[in-house]
């Protein structure tokens, strides 16, 4: 068993043990089911809600909002990162702001966004973008910083056009950094959108969790929470595996 596989095994074992403990604790009455329900009940609740179609509209609303916010954050963040990298003075201004950006809770702007953009998708998309874009900007900057000057010289020796230099040299060279940024951006967009829905929105999975919570419907609340958790972990896991393959190819030695 490789070290990586051993670590994976230990992670799964710890997680499984915690779930088993929670299940046993709930079943034996050590944990009040008004606080937390048994994991098997969470799974059953999630399956019931998906099967009944109760969550269909919320799923479509939330994930379409996340995808739009993520896509726009990727485009905007990459472009902004490239722009800041291009102009040293702009970077002098932007660097401290980027470094301290995540100390600002962007959710506080949600009421302002609602006032400006109205209720609906737009303020949530903006909240997702505000949460996700800086991660892409930072990863783009560190990626562009890492492109070896000799590769840029190589592009000139091969008389590559700017477009070919970008697609054949710069983008592949920065891809591992961008990928890390995209992975973070997806997580931040998800957090931003669901938290926004949870706080003020009248639609989406965040709202469904909030509604169930306020209605003391623990079973429904944990079912939706589990669903969001599974989707987030799966999406991140796919990106993690993809990133790992990319990194292993470059670092096999």
């Amino acid at each position: 068993m490789t070290r990586r596989h051993a670590a994976l095994f230990v992670r799964i074992a710890i997680l499984t043990s915690l779930v088993a403990l929670l299940e046993i604790g709930c079943r034996l009455g050590f944990i009040d089911t008004l606080t937390v329900i048994a994991p098997s009940d969470m799974v059953a609740s999630m399956a019931d809600q998906i099967r009944s179609g109760d969550l269909d509209a919320s799923i479509v609303t939330t994930f379409s909002t996340i995808l739009i916010a993520f896509a726009l954050a990727v485009v905007l963040g990459t472009a902004l990162g490239a722009l800041i990298h291009r102009f040293a003075r702009l970077r002098d201004v932007a660097d401290p702001l980027l470094a301290s950006y995540y100390s600002v809770p962007t959710f506080i702007f949600y009421p302002l966004l609602v006032a400006l953009l109205g209720l609906g998708k737009a303020p949530l998309v903006v909240l997702g973008i505000l949460s996700a874009t800086p991660a892409v900007v930072i990863s783009t900057l560190s990626g562009l910083d890492s492109v070896a000057p000799v590769l840029m010289k190589l592009a000139r020796v091969h008389r590559l056009t700017p477009a070919r230099t970008l697609t054949w040299i710069v983008l592949p060279a920065v891809m591992p950094h961008l990928f890390t940024g995209f992975k973070l951006a997806l997580s931040y967009a998800l957090i931003g959108v669901i938290a926004g829905e949870f706080i003020l929105s009248g639609t989406g999975l965040g709202y469904a969790i909030s509604y169930a919570y306020q209605s003391f419907d623990n079973r429904a609340m944990y079912g939706v929470m589990l669903f969001v958790l599974l989707v987030a972990v799966t999406a991140n896991g796919i990106l993690y595996v993809w990133e790992g393959r990319l990194a292993r190819r470059r670092s096999r030695g």
Partner: protein, 263 residues
């Protein structure tokens, strides 16, 4: 074209704008003949790499002119020049084969002809067993061979090498030198090698230019007189010791200057 000047530098000066303004190079005038193996040695910081960049067309001279095959360069790399850099310039996201084939992407060659050239270059540099490997799986010397193969595949008429073996151990450098000589003989290309290793210059070259401390100018020009079919075994020749000694005697005072000491 053998015997004619393929590269011609006339009163080339390169300054870097300050403040303070730094004159890195020159004035330098030099003719390199077609098919010649010409090396440049000089103390650290004398402008050797700047000179290579000027000859490649990567850097414009501040004054003077550079001609390649009779045409003046204006800060662009002309067709027919291949450059191997001191730093590893293999692309980690491409396999050895794709790295070598990189230069042919814009060549307009048919797929079959491009594949034949790539196979030949890979085989020539002894990388056939590693064609599917990625640079991270190779040693430093093998990666530099990938970079040389990538240059070779373009069939350049002038190959510029900027201390390509600088990071390699002595044995590997000698063997790489043999491969470079074989490449030079078989392709008929002109070679301009920048090196700080006097023995490397003495072993490989037809002619060695010795540069002064900054701003770099030629202070000596040494004809080695080696036959074309030489290899690294010339280091056991008595003439090799005399050549290396002459290079060092020309260079010693200049190297001391870079250390801030008088000769």
């Amino acid at each position: 074209m053998s015997g004619e000047a393929q590269v011609s530098l006339s009163e080339v000066v390169r300054r870097y704008d300050g403040p303070p303004v730094v004159q890195a190079l020159g004035p330098i005038s030099l003719d390199i003949k077609c098919g010649e193996f010409f090396s440049i040695v000089g103390p650290s910081g004398c402008g050797k790499s700047t000179l290579l960049d000027v000859v490649a067309g990567l850097v414009r001279p501040s004054s003077g002119s550079v001609r390649f095959e009779g045409k003046e360069l204006h800060g662009e790399v002309p067709d027919g020049i291949g450059v191997v850099f001191q730093e590893d310039s293999s692309m980690p996201w491409l396999s050895v084969r794709d790295n070598v084939a990189f230069g042919l992407r814009t060549s307009g060659l048919s797929k079959q002809e491009a594949a034949t050239r790539v196979d030949h270059a890979i085989s020539f540099m002894g990388l056939s067993q590693f064609a599917g490997h990625y640079p991270a799986q190779l040693s430093g010397g093998m990666r530099q061979r990938v970079c040389i193969a990538r240059t070779l595949v373009l069939k350049p008429r002038l190959i510029l090498l900027d201390e390509p073996f600088g990071a390699l151990d002595q044995q590997t450098r000698l063997l790489m030198g043999d491969e470079l000589l074989r490449l030079w003989r078989e392709t008929g290309a002109t070679v301009l090698l920048i090196t700080h290793a006097l023995d490397e210059a003495a072993m490989l070259s037809d002619r060695v230019g010795v540069m002064s401390a900054r701003p770099g100018r030629f202070i000596d020009m040494v004809e080695t007189g080696w036959p074309r079919d030489r290899d690294s075994r010339v280091i056991s020749d008595a003439q090799f010791g005399a050549l290396t000694a002459r290079l060092w005697s020309s260079l010693r005072a200049e190297s001391l200057k870079t250390l801030g000491r008088a000769a």
